[in-house]
Every structure is written in C-alpha cells, then in structure tokens.
C-alpha cells in the first residue's frame, strides 16, 4: 500500500498541479522540523511585521492568507505562490526579489537579501509553521470599551433637561408646550422667527393625514373650522388618536423599520401565509397604545414573557420577517444560518437602538464602540431561535367564558335526557311491547362483531347498538373482513344494515364524498365454533334490500361481476338493510363462526361507514323489515310484564333505549353538545423548540439551527473561534455582572432558553441597559413623522457616523417624557401635535431657503404622501374605500381595502407602491426616499385603475349643486377660488364640447371624469402642507 505522507499531497495530486517529490518519511519529518525552527527564529517575525496586515490580519488582499500554512499553500487569486521544497516554482520569492510583478511588500522598503534568504530556506525545507500567526481559536475580545466610549451623546443615561425659559413677550404668546421652548431657544440664537399658526383648514388636513392617513371629509373640515371651543384642536387630536385608522397609519412606519414582508425571498419567494398576524399585531398594539417598552419586548421574546397573550406570540414575527433562502446546498447551510441570525441582530440594532451592530460582523465596528466579540455574544441570544407556524389561541378569556356557558347548558341537556329515561321510557316500553305482540317478526339476532380487518387500513369502533363505525383511512377501494359468532345451528339468512351516523357526510351511511357507498361483493364462510375445521363457503341464493339506487340493485352483490354492486343514492342519512338468503340452512351444534367479507370495488372511496350484522333462523323467504331485536330480547318480549323480574325489565329497557327515537334525540343532543373549541389562528412565530417551518433542503439534512454559535473570524462560518456565550453590548451595559443581571433561568423542561427574555429586559432597562437609547430612538421617529425631519436626521444610526441631534435636550426631554408616561406613545403624539412648532404654517412670508436643512423648525415642511396613503386617499375621495380591518392580505390590486392590507410578497411588490417609493423590504428602513419621476405621472394620467377612481369620484359629485366646489372640498378640503372655479368650468365646457363633437355618448360625464382625474394629479392633492 502506498502511503502518502501529507494530506496536502493528496490535494495537490488531485488538482494535478504538482508532482510529489520522492522522499522518505523520516527525511521529510526532519526537514519539516528544521523548517519549523527557521520559521520560529526568523520567518514568523518577517511575515508578522511586513506581510500579515494585508494578508490575513486586517484584510486578505488577493485572497492570499498568510496567517496559516493552509492559507499560504492555497495561494491567492494569482494562483499558487509557494511550493514547499521547490524554491524555483515559488513565485513568492520572485516577488520578494522584485523579479516578478507585483513586487512585495507593496509598501515600504524591499526585504533585505538576508531576510529573503531565510524565507527561501524555510520554503526549501517545507514551509512549516509551528502555529498559526493568528490563532483562529483565540477568544476575541476585540477592542476595549471605555468610559469615554460610554460618554458618547446617545449612549449616556437619560437626564431630564429643564426646558429653556422663553425670553421675549412675543415668544410667550407663541409657545404652547415645553417643546416650543427648546425649539424657540435655538431659533433665537440663530436670529430667526417662527412662522405663524396655520389656518384651521390646513391644520385639520395635516392632522388627519398624519394620524390616520386618510383625507378629512368636507363635513369634518367644516365642523372644525367653525368650532368655537378653545380646545377644539386638542379634542380633534384626541379623536384622531382614538380612531382605528390611527394604528393602520402608524403601523406602516414601523413595518418599514421591521423590514416586514410575507414571503421568504430568494429562489422561489414562497409565501409566508401566516405572517400577516405580525402586521395585525402592530396595528392593534398601536391602537391600544401598548407601552413601547412592552411593544419592543414582545417582538423579541413575547413567547417567553407573555405566552398566553396572543398578541405577544404574533409580535415575535418581527425576528423572522427577514429573507431566507428556500434552496440551500450543503455548503451553504451554516452560512445561511449565520446570515439569518445577522438579519435578526442587525434589524434589532438599527430598528430599535439606532445602532449599526451588523457592521461588527467581520471586524470591530470602525466607528462605534462595538467589538466583533460583542456582536457574536449578542447574536448568541438567537442561536436556537427559529421560525415556526403554530396554532395560537386567540382569546383565552373568551374561551374560558364559553366553557362555563357550555357546562351550564350541558347540565340542562343531561337532566332532560335522564328525566325522560326515568319518567317516560318504561311506559313507552310497555306500549311498544303491547303493539309489537301483534306483529310477526322473524327475529333477527344482532351479532357482536369479534374482529374487523380492512385491507385499506381503516379502523373500527364498536357502538352500543352493536353496530360498527368504520374510522380512519378511507381507501380508494377497500375490503372488510368481519368475524361474528352465533349459537344458532340453522341459519337461513344474513342481514347487513348500513346505518346513518352523524360523523359521515350527509350522515352516510357511506364514506363517499356524497354519503353513498357501493357494495360490490359479499361472501360468507362458516366454521364450527367448537372443534374448528375448514371454513365452508355459504351459498347465497337471493338478495333484497330496503332501497336500491337506480342501476345498482342489491342482486349485483351476488353476481359474478366484481365491479357491479349495491348503492343507495339519494336516500342518504337513513338506515338501509339488505337480506341475503342462504341456499340451505347453515350452522353447527355448539355454535357457528361466520366470516363475512365485504368488497367495495365499484367507485372510489365508496365504503360503508357504519354497519351491523344480524342473522335469523326464520323460514324462507325471509321478509325485509327494519326492526328486529336480538334473540334474548325477543324471548323476554314474549313474557308478560307481570312475570318479568326487575332485572329482565332493566334488560329490556337497555335495549329499548336504542330503539326509542325520542330518547335517541335527547341523547344525541347531549352527545353532540361538545366543549366549544378555542378560537385559534395559525401564526408564524419566532421561538424555540417548535417544529421549524418546512424547508426545501430538509431532505438534504438542513438542521435549521446549530445548538451553538461561534465567534467567527471575518464573519466566515468556515473560520470558527470559540463558542459565543450570550452577553449584550458592553457600551450600553451598566451592570458589572453582565447578562446575569437580566437573566431569569427557565423552569426545568422549559421549551425555550429564555435568552431572548433577558435581551428584552436589557434593551428596555433604562438604568442598567439600553433603555435610554431605545427611548431616544423612538421619540425621534415620532418627531420625524410629524415634522418631516428627525431631531437626529439619521433615524437608524445614532452612532458616530450618524447625524448629531439638532436639539439634544429636546430629544432627551421627549424621551424622559415617554418613560414618565409609562412608555405610552399616544401622549407623545399629542404633545408634539399640540406644540406651536407643529402647528406652524408651511409657507412663510419671506421664504428661508436653508431653514429645513438647518433644522430650526421655523415652519412646517410640506410633505408628499407615501404610496400607500396616496392610494388610500384616492379610494377615500372616490367613495370606494372598504374599511374592513385585519386578516390575510391580498395581491389583487383591485382590492378596495387600505393599502396596508396588501400582502407584501418580495418578488411581487404592488407596482403603484413601488412607483411611489415603497422601499424593498429587505433591511430596516428609517425613512423613505421621495422621488418625483415620470412613471408616477404616467400612472396618474393613464392607469385604468386611477381612471376608475376618477369615475367613481365624478359619480359622487355629479349630483351635487356645484360639482367643481364639491370636487375641491373632497379632494383638497377647501373650496376653489373664483379663478380656479372659472378655469375649471371653462375646462369642463371645452372638454365636453370636444367629446360631443367626437360623438361620445356622455360628453359632460366624460369631461367631469377628466376633471376629477386632474384633481388627483394636483401637487396639492398628494402633498400635505
């Protein structure tokens, strides 16, 4: 056997690049030892000093990594650079000697001849390393986090600032809230005056759009404009904050932050059909004004912190809203998992903390005090977190109430049945027996089924009336084998009953999708019960049935055709019986065992659902009838009542129970009165220990998660360091014991690790964790939505690279105000919206070009509505808006619901939304870009859908006294000026004339639609002043 000494040799052989020099093993070992010494004494220092920074240290230029021998021998993009033992073919030496391009080292003086000689010697001996130059296993702590780092403005603990005093008398008139004092102070320093208060019409349009995302109705506007109440505006804000549309409007902002979508992305972009609950959670949480700290906690660990609260379960959808590949190769499993975890950490970072934590994945954050080690320790929070789909109980309290109600009702039903049985059944039995004495019944003996076998895999359940309910699998073509026994020794016929059952379609008696069955063959064999022996086939000579479907008569069961049979359509839900007479009487003294096989070969899944077997020894021909108690009962029946023992009467009553229809009905009511099922919804959650959502690569063994996550070098899952243990960002942690401060160990046997719960506590902890930053980031978002520009203009980056706050004290004041209000957001909305700064007009007498960018807030900035809101406004103005809230979204653009209920499928974003700058839902978005491009104009000019809205709008206003005025009032919340009105009327006239000349049927109608469409195209329509 040829042994190849070095694994590398195999590699080189395989690629066919290098011939292995013949060398004995011992020689080889000696040379390598020598080479190692040269490395330790000389080469290590040279590489570490002159090469490593670019090749394996801070970066890997040309993919040539000198930090390990493996990297050295693998070469870089230029190919192999070092061939051990072959200096001639080691290109590296030529580059060091400046004989081959590019010369190395790239910077600084060339290496001395002596140093190059050492390297050549080392290569000649085998280029051995004693250990890697960078230990891939070393626990990286990265750069230290100092108190100076913690003193960066956004990382400092919150201290409540005192609002500056307003100086001039004029300002006292302007100032309405403490907010205004902060704003005014900076304006004063810059010598700039604020703007006047906007008129009421402007105010209501602005406020209604800001809070609900819908235009105000003309009546709403009139009422507010005329309202004499000094607090009319405050009351308006309160009313809007209480509107269900508030959540629909505000949720969209948060969904941008949460990169929310309802599909996986990548190859197939499969739907996540149960992801919409997260969207509903956000709307409901904002409408209910769930405190923001809890809002955040639930999104991270709702399943651990409030498992009985359905909204908390739905909230966890946040973690899993990112993209994930649906097709993976083995090589990609681990990398994809780290990408997925990175998405969670990065979104949490930018979205909740305004920190670009994801930048620390490959190297220490270049600008913020976030070492890579902090990144992997934080990431370890989510190591075992996966996406699952589970049933969430929607309203446990209502379910509990329903259960109490059920128990009350159930008791009533039971009492009614028992009373009937006790008080009426005995009389009814005697009456029945009296009437029965006159009839001639052959006496069917109902047989207990001893065994049931189905070739199709069905099961069975024996019922009190000795019938058999067939359960479980309903095979396409089944065959039942049934064994029964009887003491009788002279059987003349067998009866098969097909019985109705509540569990079957139309109560059966068949299992077919319409309740039918089709029996194609019936065979009977008989065996002595005692002594056994070969089964004897029983000859069946005739068959008759209580009812036969046209063309499917019961005699087909005993013909030779395997496919023909007996069926009962349309007599569903009734009892049917078939009687098969034997050629000669059958039976053995000591009892008889009958084996009956029933075949169903005619039609798919046409198997009987509930059946009962009886036999008789009555004389042939045996009549068909539907009665017939079993033998012991028939004997008892002959006894007069007076001669019966109480036990015998009890036996009769037990049998009669099953016969009496009134009792049956009462009994059915008890039976069918079931415990109400809790209302559940299938929800996509992110948790631990549930079954992961199925994945294409499951068949390849995709593990969904790894039990541990590691510190990675340069973010590469192939370069693992030690296992990462959960900790939080050091710069935002003010508890010396670290994660333990927030960790509550899970109970034994807990499904989840409760690591996320610890993170949720840390992130909202104002004193020791990152709560101060969390509060700053959210109040800045609210400010941005109301003023068009944040106090920090980079809402997703509060780090060193982000912008500094224009009003740091105001930001901190708002953040403390939020916390003082129990983290409720609605009071902050109201505070901002009732401030003088918010209520300013957008146009100034003397425009200031640079005011907005200077962040002085000396006027309101006109803002273009988002795509969703433009569409909602079109629907609302045209009177077509369908206000149904919540539930599954749609991709159908013809939908009339608000745009937030569009399903967000990553490969099929709604075109109109994209045209108006909907960002791709891939990473957290702190603010949308606003572009003005021709496709938007084309859409408003030519889209049949927009034209349709214009038509509805025209219909709405056509009947009014003055359609032009009505149009302006609906679309712009104001009446037109005289000039505008005259211009519009002239247009209508000209346009109608032109349509009339073209022979159009409704020229004036068309002209009005054109006018309505024009209103949709107005800048004033899609901007809010």
């Amino acid at each position: 056997m040829v042994r190849i000494a070095h694994p590398l040799a195999i590699l080189l052989l395989a690629t066919g690049l290098v011939a292995v020099p013949q060398e004995t093993e011992r020689d080889h070992a000696a040379r390598m030892a020598k080479s190692r010494d040269v490395f330790k004494d000389h080469v290590r220092a040279i590489i570490a000093g002159r090469c490593l920074k670019c090749h394996g240290g801070e970066k890997v230029s040309s993919d040539f990594d000198l930090s390990t021998r493996k990297g050295l021998l693998a070469g870089g993009r230029k190919g192999v650079a070092v061939v051990p033992g072959d200096t001639g073919r080691s290109r590296l030496l030529k580059q060091l000697r400046h004989e081959s391009d590019p010369f190395m080292p790239k910077k600084g003086a060339p290496l001395s001849d002596e140093k190059i000689a050492r390297i050549a010697e080392w290569i000649a001996l085998g280029a051995a390393y004693d250990k890697p130059l960078i230990d891939p296993k070393a626990a990286p702590n990265g750069k230290e986090v100092s108190d100076a780092d913690r003193d960066f403005w956004s990382f400092r603990p919150l201290v409540r600032p005192t609002p500056p005093r307003a100086m001039a008398m004029a300002d006292k008139g302007w100032v309405r809230t403490p907010i205004d004092r902060f704003i005014r102070a900076r304006q004063q320093r810059k010598g700039i005056a604020p703007s006047r208060v906007a008129d009421r019409r402007t105010l209501i349009r602005r406020a209604v759009f800001d809070l609900t995302g819908l235009p105000p109705s003309p009546d709403e506007v009139d009422q507010f404009v005329k309202d004499k109440d000094p607090d009319a505006y405050g009351k308006l804000i309160d009313r809007l904050l209480a509107s269900p549309h508030f959540g629909e409007r505000q949720a969209r902002h948060w969904l941008d932050v949460a990169r929310f979508a309802e599909s996986h992305g990548f190859e197939q972009d499969y739907d996540r059909p149960h992801a919409y609950h997260y969207r509903d959670f956000v709307i409901k949480a904002l409408n209910q004004d769930i405190p923001y700290d809890r809002f955040v906690q639930w999104q991270i660990a709702g399943d651990e912190l409030a498992p009985d609260e359905p909204l908390a379960m739905m909230a966890t959808g946040f973690l899993g809203a990112g993209v994930f590949p649906t097709q993976l190769t083995e090589k990609e499993f681990e990398r994809a998992r780290y990408d997925e975890l990175d998405d969670m950490v990065s979104t949490l970072g930018t979205g909740m903390l305004g920190l670009t934590i994801g930048c620390a994945r490959c190297h220490d954050h270049k600008f913020d005090p976030i070492p890579t080690s902090d990144y992997y320790r934080l990431l370890a929070t989510f190591t075992t977190t996966i996406r699952s789909e589970i049933d969430v109980v929607l309203d446990p309290a209502a379910d509990a109430r329903a259960k109490i109600q059920y128990e009350r009702e159930h008791a009533t039903l039971v009492v009614a049945r028992d009373r009937f049985e006790r008080e009426q059944l005995p009389t009814k039995l005697e009456r029945f027996l009296a009437s029965r004495a006159k009839s001639k019944d052959p006496g069917w003996e109902i047989l207990q089924v001893k065994s049931f076998v189905s070739t199709g895999g069905a099961g069975s359940e024996r019922l009190r009336d000795s019938s058999l309910r067939i359960t479980g699998k309903n095979a396409r073509f089944d065959k039942y084998s049934i064994v029964v026994t009887t003491q009788s020794d002279s059987l003349t016929a067998l009866r098969l009953e097909a019985l109705p059952d509540a569990g079957l379609v139309r109560q059966g008696p068949g299992r077919a999708s319409n309740g039918n069955f089709c029996l194609t063959d019936l065979k009977v064999t008989a065996t002595p019960l005692i002594g056994g022996g070969d089964p004897v086939a029983v000859e069946l000579v005739s068959a008759k049935a209580s009812f036969e479907q046209k063309g499917l008569a019961v005699d087909r069961v005993i013909d030779d055709d395997k496919k023909s049979g007996w069926a009962i359509d349309p007599q569903f839900g009734k009892r049917h019986s078939a009687v098969f007479e034997f050629g000669k009487s059958v039976g053995f003294s000591g009892g008889t065992l009958l084996k009956i096989t029933l075949d169903f070969q005619c039609n798919t899944r046409h198997n009987i659902g509930r059946l009962r077997i009886s036999v008789t020894d009555a004389k042939r021909p045996v009549p068909i009838n539907l009665g017939g108690p079993p033998r012991p009962i028939t004997e008892l029946m002959r006894l007069p009542a007076k001669r019966r023992t109480p036990k015998q009467t009890a036996m009769l009553l037990t049998w009669f129970r099953t016969e009496n229809l009134e009792l049956q009905e009462l009994d059915r009511k008890v039976r069918e009165h079931r415990v109400p099922k809790p209302r559940v919804a299938r929800v996509m959650v992110c948790s631990e220990g549930y079954k992961p959502i199925k994945h294409h690569a499951d068949g390849r063994g995709f593990p969904h998660f790894y039990k541990q996550t590691h510190h990675l070098r340069r973010g590469d899952s192939a370069q693992k360091g030690p296992v990462a243990k959960q900790e939080f960002l050091r710069v935002l942690t003010r508890a010396p014991e670290g994660v333990k401060h927030w960790r509550v160990p899970p109970q034994r046997g807990a499904r989840t690790s409760h690591r996320r719960a610890a993170l949720a506590r840390w992130i909202t902890d104002v004193e020791h964790g990152s709560g101060s930053l969390l509060a700053r980031v959210i109040v800045n978002r609210l400010w941005q939505h109301h003023l068009g520009r944040g106090i920090v203009t980079t809402p997703n980056d509060f780090g060193a690279q982000g912008a500094r706050p224009t009003h740091p004290e105001l930001l901190d004041w708002l953040a403390t105000e939020l916390i003082r209000n129990g983290w409720r957001l609605k009071p902050i909305h109201k505070l901002i919206m009732t401030s003088a700064v918010y209520m300013q007009a957008s146009d100034r007498d003397a425009p200031l070009a640079a005011d907005v960018s200077d962040g002085l807030f000396c006027r309101q900035a006109p803002r273009r509505l988002e795509g969703e809101i433009i569409r909602d406004a079109l629907l609302s103005v045209s009177g077509e808006l369908e206000p149904t809230m919540f539930g599954k979204g749609t991709l159908n653009e013809a939908s009339k619901r608000r745009s937030i209920y569009f399903m967000i499928k990553r490969s099929k974003l709604i075109p109109m939304m994209v045209t108006f700058d909907l960002p791709e839902p891939l990473v957290s978005q702190g603010r949308r870009s606003v572009t003005t491009v021709a496709p938007q104009a084309l859409l408003l000019m030519n889209s049949p859908r927009v034209r349709g809205y214009a038509k509805s709008f025209a219909t709405r206003i056509a009947a009014t006294k003055d359609p032009v005025i009505a149009g302006y009032r609906f679309a712009l919340a104001r009446t037109p000026t005289d000039t505008e009105r005259r211009r519009a009327l002239a247009f209508l006239q000209q346009q109608a004339k032109s349509y009339r000349e073209a022979g159009e049927a409704d020229p004036r109608g068309l002209a009005l639609v054109d006018f309505c469409q024009t209103l949709f195209g107005l800048s004033e329509f899609i901007y809010v002043d």
Partner: protein, 480 residues
C-alpha cells in the same frame, strides 16, 4: 395658445434641470447625505451627470447566460479533458455542485473546437456566428464566485454579494450616471418571452436594494405592453389629453408659485410633461418593425428558433442608441431545462440555447460595430457561475454547477479585442491563474463606465456601501 404654454414649460423644465443637477452634484460630492436621497428630497434623480473620469463605455448590454453556461463546452478549450474522458476526478468534493449523489467521471465536451479569428481563439461548434467576432472579445477564463446555488450566485453576479437586498449593477450605474434620455427608462431588463419564467430570485436581480427605487431596472413585460400606463385612456384624443394636462400643469404651477422653496414641486410639473412625451417616445423605441430587412436578417429575426432573442437584441440596440444606460437580456428562464442550467443532456441543453442566441448576439455585435456604437457600448456575455468538467449522471449526462470557474467575455466599450485573461486548470475545474472574482468583474465594468469602484458609494444605515463590497480589482489587462 396651448402650444406657447407648452413651449414655456419646456423652458421651465430645462431651467429646473439645472437646479436638479446642482442638487445631485452636491449630494454626490457628499457621497449622498446620511440616510440617502430622502434628505435632499432630490428633485430629478435621473438627470445626467459625469462619472469620476472620462468613460470608455456610455452604455452596457449584458447578455445574461442564465443558469450557468459550461466553460469547457463554450470558450475554454481543454484538450486534457478530452484525454481524461471517462476517468474519475480524484479527490473531488461531491458537494461542489448541487447534486452530491450524481457525481460522474470526467466528461469531454460533446462539441468540436476550432480556431477562429486573427487571435486564433478556440471556440466550440455551439457558436458558428459568434466565433466570427472573437477578435472583438476579451475573454476572462478565470472567473470564480461564492455560491454553488442559483439565486445566491445570481445575486452575487448582479449585486456583488451572495445575499438578497443589495443594489444591482444596473442600479449603481444609473445612480452614478443618470440618464441622457429622460423619455425612456435608464435601466431596462428583458426576460424570457417563451414562458420559461424569470431567473431565480426574480426581480431582486434588477432591484435597487437600499438605493431609491427610481434606480431599479424597468422590467419589460414579455407579453402585451412592455411598460404599463404608456397608453392614454381609450376615449381620449391627444388634444383632449393635452387640454387636461394643460389644466393640471397650470394649477400645479400656481401651487408651485405659492411654495417657491419646494424643489420637488417643480420636478412634479416637469414629470407630467416628461410622461406626456414618454407616451410616444417609448413605443417608438421598442418598435422594431421599422428596421430595414437586412438588419432584421442580420439578427436572425425571421429565423424561427432565434427570432425572439433577435427582437430583444434589436430592441437593446435601439434603446442604447437613444441613451439608455444599462440593458440586461436574460437568455432562458428558471432552472434546469428552462435555462442554460444543463443538469441533464448538456449537449441538447446548451445546443438549444446557443441556437437561440448565437446569431442574434453576433448580429448585435456586427450592428453596433457598423454603426460605430461598439466603441462606447460594452457588451457582456456571461452567467452566474460555470459548470463542472465531470458528468452529472443521468439518462443523458449533464453538468452540475461549478462556482470555482466560469468564462465571461466583454466586447466593445473600451475592452480589448482578441485577448484572453486568466486560466483554469487543465481540465477546466478551477480557475488557477490570474483569478478573477465577481467583485473584480464589477470593478472592471465600473471602470469602463468611468467610475472608481471604491468611490461610488451610498450611505445606508450608517455604512458607505459599494457594489464591490470590500474588494474588487480592475482587470486592467483587458482594458484598452
């Protein structure tokens, strides 16, 4: 009356254009402000602007060989592979491709190779037409990528990282250059019109990622109207729409006059005029019926097996002629037999798709050349990865994915003609000499377009992103 008003707005429009340009230059100078364009509420983000240095190429047409073309069956001639046909590739990592359980022996190309052109390039019999143009082409034989799976590799090739959510090269180009023709989209994507679907990852392959959505590729619908909303409502004549537009523009002008500080309101006025012009300009650009017969013949428009691709190549030329910056045409749709993804029957698969594209792409090169457009139009031929030199077992053998080696070629736009750069090993399994990473290819394309790839950046969520991530080297060896 209405004509004079139109004239007036035209002037207003150009005046506005200056404002927007200044605005963009400012933002570019800053490498765009934090959190992107929203800050400036940029008025006309597509107004043309110069690159970092004089460009070789003004436009790019990328023939995307979707699914991953096999290098050893197309342009990378490997006589050694023929010699070792049928032998096992020792030490082969069975997880290199997609199907670890169908690893076969080395398999020679079923196609015959011959030398062509002054440069004597070996080309397989798949390309009887394209082989006539090898002296215009610069081959990169040593490409390699980071994923052995379609959509990550497609994202890598289009967006520079093997993950979703990053702007693609067409978006970066239009972000950097704007567009000289505002009547047409700046970045156009055509997909398979034969019902074989979109490339894996769908529209994300031409998405703008975190760049403003205005920079995303405009996907032409393969059936019906290529761009939505280009046709005015059926009942309207041009005059009637014009009258409606005049009213609209007049009212918007009044609104603008009341808000003189709002630049985007001015842009809105302009955008309606632009939209009005697009209604005629865009259909005209897509309409190839007016092309002369010999041109149609050159592309193979009347040849049934390639007429669909010929039409797309002709449209690409017409678009570039009118100033469109970036055109991508995908050959084939989804995976397996619906694209160049020849897992089974490599001969039939590549044979079929080569037949569909060979003459049209050759026609495009010849046509661009004869019009003098090839000098500043860069044509790229290439897919998301290569294929393995070993067989994928099956009834008719195919080839599995190969991230370690692929061939791509550039023609025109400042690329050298008749050169080959980089080498694979002697069986075409791995690129070994002068290896070219996808980031390098992107750096080179941006270089030809006049950009320093390290300085074409966009600040997003606190980081300056670029197409080439943290790497990229311009392959100067293939640049004129």
């Amino acid at each position: 009356m209405s004509i004079s008003r139109r004239e007036l707005f035209k002037h207003a429009g150009s005046g506005f254009g200056m404002v927007a340009l200044a605005d963009l230059l400012r933002t570019q100078d800053l490498l765009l402000p934090p959190e992107g364009l929203a800050e400036a509420s940029v008025a006309d983000p597509l107004s043309p602007r110069p690159p970092h240095f004089p460009a070789r190429a003004k436009s790019v047409i990328w023939i995307f060989i979707n699914g991953g073309p096999s290098q050893v069956d197309t342009w990378d001639y490997k006589p050694e592979l023929e010699k070792r046909d049928g032998t096992e590739l020792k030490g082969f990592d069975k997880f290199t491709g997609f199907f670890a359980n169908a690893v076969g022996p080395l398999m020679k190309s079923p196609f015959e190779f011959k030398q062509y052109g002054e440069c004597g390039k070996w080309v397989s019999s798949l390309f009887p037409y394209l082989s006539q143009h090898v002296d215009k082409m610069a081959f990169i034989h040593s490409g390699f990528t980071e994923s052995n799976n379609h959509s990550p590799a497609l994202f890598m090739m289009n967006c520079g990282v093997p993950r979703m959510g990053y702007p693609c090269i067409g978006s970066w180009t239009t972000y950097g250059l704007g567009s000289p023709n505002r009547n047409l989209p700046a970045f156009v994507v055509m997909s398979d019109p034969k019902g074989r679907g979109l490339p894996k990852g769908h529209a994300l392959n031409w998405g703008a990622g975190f760049l403003p959505s205005v920079f995303q590729g405009t996907w032409l619908r393969p059936k019906g109207e290529p761009i939505p909303n280009l046709r005015r409502p059926a009942h309207m004549t041009d005059a009637q729409q014009r009258r409606q537009l005049d009213l609209l523009v007049e009212l918007n002008q009044q609104h603008l006059a009341a808000h003189p500080a709002e630049k985007d309101l001015a842009a809105r006025v302009d955008s309606f005029e632009l939209a009005y012009r697009m209604q005629t300009a865009a259909p005209e650009a897509f309409d190839i019926r007016s092309e002369p017969g010999d041109i149609k013949q050159l592309y193979g428009l009347d040849t049934p097996h390639c007429s669909h691709f010929a039409a797309q190549c002709m449209q690409a030329r017409r678009l570039v002629e009118r100033g469109v910056r970036f055109v991508q045409i995908y050959s084939g749709g989804m995976a397996n037999q619906r694209s160049w993804d020849g897992h089974a029957d490599i001969e039939g698969n590549h044979g079929g798709f080569a037949l569909e594209t060979d003459q049209p792409v050759a026609g495009l090169l010849a046509d661009l050349h004869q019009r003098g457009m090839l000098d500043d139009t860069l044509v790229i031929w290439g897919g998301e990865f290569g294929r393995l030199p070993i067989a994928q077992k099956g009834k008719k053998p195919g080839r599995d994915h190969n991230p370690h080696a692929f061939t791509t070629w550039f023609a025109g736009g400042g690329a050298k003609g008749g050169v080959s750069y980089g080498e694979t090993d002697e069986i075409g399994h791995r690129s070994v000499v002068d290896r070219v990473h996808v980031n390098d290819i992107h750096a080179t394309i941006l270089h030809l377009l006049g950009f320093d790839h390290e300085h074409l950046t966009y600040r997003h969520n606190g980081r300056d992103f670029r197409l080439t991530d943290v790497a990229g080297r311009v392959v100067k060896e293939i640049v004129v």
